[in-house]
Symmetry: C2
Subunit: 397 residues, 2 copies
Amino acid sequence: MTIKNHVGADLCVGPTVLGRTRGSAPTFKFSLMHKDPSCGARAGVVHTAHGTFETPVFMPVGTQGTVKSLAPDDLEEAGAQIILANAYHLYIRPGIDTIKLANGLHAFMGWQRPILTDSGGYQVFSLARLRGISEEGVRFHSHFDGREIFLTPETVIEAEEHLGSDIAMMFDECPPHDAARAHVEEAVHRTVRWAERAKRVHRRKEQLLFGIVQGGRFKDLRVQSLEETVKIGFDGYAIGGVSVGEPKPLMEEIVRAVAPLLPEEKPRYLMGVGTPLDLLWAVEAGIDMFDCVNPTRYGRNGCAFTHSGKVVVRNAEYARDQAPLDETCSCYTCRTFSRSYLRHLFNCEELLAYRLVTLHNVSFFISLVQSARRAIVNGEFVPFKNHFLSEYDESSR
Amino acid sequence: MTIKNHVGADLCVGPTVLGRTRGSAPTFKFSLMHKDPSCGARAGVVHTAHGTFETPVFMPVGTQGTVKSLAPDDLEEAGAQIILANAYHLYIRPGIDTIKLANGLHAFMGWQRPILTDSGGYQVFSLARLRGISEEGVRFHSHFDGREIFLTPETVIEAEEHLGSDIAMMFDECPPHDAARAHVEEAVHRTVRWAERAKRVHRRKEQLLFGIVQGGRFKDLRVQSLEETVKIGFDGYAIGGVSVGEPKPLMEEIVRAVAPLLPEEKPRYLMGVGTPLDLLWAVEAGIDMFDCVNPTRYGRNGCAFTHSGKVVVRNAEYARDQAPLDETCSCYTCRTFSRSYLRHLFNCEELLAYRLVTLHNVSFFISLVQSARRAIVNGEFVPFKNHFLSEYDESSR
């Protein structure tokens, strides 16, 4: 079954503030190209002011305006079509004005493909010392220098507009995973009101604005949050407040319940997820976009993701192993270096170690999701997923 | 004045142990192409089993089989024609056997151009806990794990042959810069006897073997060391035991005195030197090859070398500076990133910071020496040097 579903042709086209929209072809927000007949998996294309990206997509995380240890040319080598940055972190350092002066985040960090900026809602509630949440916004002390900061749905949008990202996330309230129902319910209602305010002040036509569904572990609150957020109307929808410490089966249950209820004609983004196995069941549930620090964080710790499972490069068994990290991988690291050499670099704490394993991991996540996409296009997603599961051992070795 | 001076045609050609010598063209050790008419500066080409490099040349330092923070593709981007690795460090970690198993250092580290291996003489005498120097060799405790190690001129050559470097340095005794004359004299004589032993056991025909001139701050001992080392006969000659803590004017005086006495038809290598200004006066004195940790070490500390002097990237004055590190530089870092962005990366202690400034610095050193070579070829070295000096401010800012 193949459907073509061009939507969102109302998006501003022609020369933009960033001056990067090329030619006069219409810029669609999202084209849903294929749906797998046997599950929720789908393949599409998102069109932005900095070009298109294909979904499902994995977005490497560049919190502070850099995907840790990788340069833009590494990201291109890894096949990244879009990356994520964090408005909260960039607000703290170097400050939005500094990036505005550079003509936006793309120019500042030397990355010319699409960027999604997270609003920092999750970071404010997890990293910072909170002073108080009011209807107006959140007052907190910066996790970096203790400076008092007051963020509102409006100031966050303003920051994201100055950053010039292609997709801006609204500012949401993200309660802890074990918060009481009353607290979660309050956060859902406030997040909906903040969604309305974000939508109202958002001016940058060539920037897509995504709403975020909260509701924690409570399905009815999730549905309520979803319905009210969709009613406001966004260019895409994210499931937030998952992968924040709750048991994994619970997360899977929530995502499987919520994803199919999200509007079919808009991109669906699962925030902060996950492992290779998570990506597959979530694609199956109908998710289009992912971000996660796993490939970069594990990479810096010397743990490589491969098609057969995780390889802890520092382990003595790899001291003389002439094989690449993953025989089936075509990334620069796997084309060029043996496990033996990578282990040597980690043993010597050489900076190159962190980059090479990160580059492999990011390539692996991107390639996994791209392979899933090809399988969807070919109508073979479920066999693809089962084959991957049959080879992948979740333990480390 | 242009002279062509093809020497060393006795070098093994055709398929080698490494199987990398291409075609059937004769492999010459050193071709001296140009001599500057007004000073000692010279331009040449050294031919090795892994291709040629042009002299004067700057060799980035890859002590542990990696030029700190850079991958082989970065080194190619920076224009590196040859790099240095250290047999002592590789002997300690990962061990010569591990690299032998990988079919040599080129394959192990993914670098297919020439490699020079330092013997580690300097490191043994500076880093390790010495147990004793005898006629036979040196007993010491590893700087890494305290393990007792005994190195001789023969074991070092054996290690370098297994590493498969294109140029092997002999094992020498390097006394402290302020050692008494009797100590230095003894080291000179021992180093000459060790040179004879190194030459005697060296078997790998496609690997060039360089002798090292010692003699500390004593010119007569330098001349004695030089004459006796040249009498033994090597493929090239290094000036060792400089840049080890002595005053810079003394170093310059020694090098200016010794360099012209080295055989004209062999490459001349000044070990462990230096700053941009050092490179220029040493080229003027007739030096062909350099290595130094300055570009990598300063790079990791956030200090960039530019044509106008050193730029301390972290300084607040660069917070909003949209200019590249050096307007005249065409490296990836200068083509892509502003000082403002690089400062942000250093402030956030992002790994990318170290790589980007290192890449620039290594490019700068290589490019400076390549520009000097072009000036020599055009008979304009002295004006080139004077122009550089007129723009370069040695203080940091």
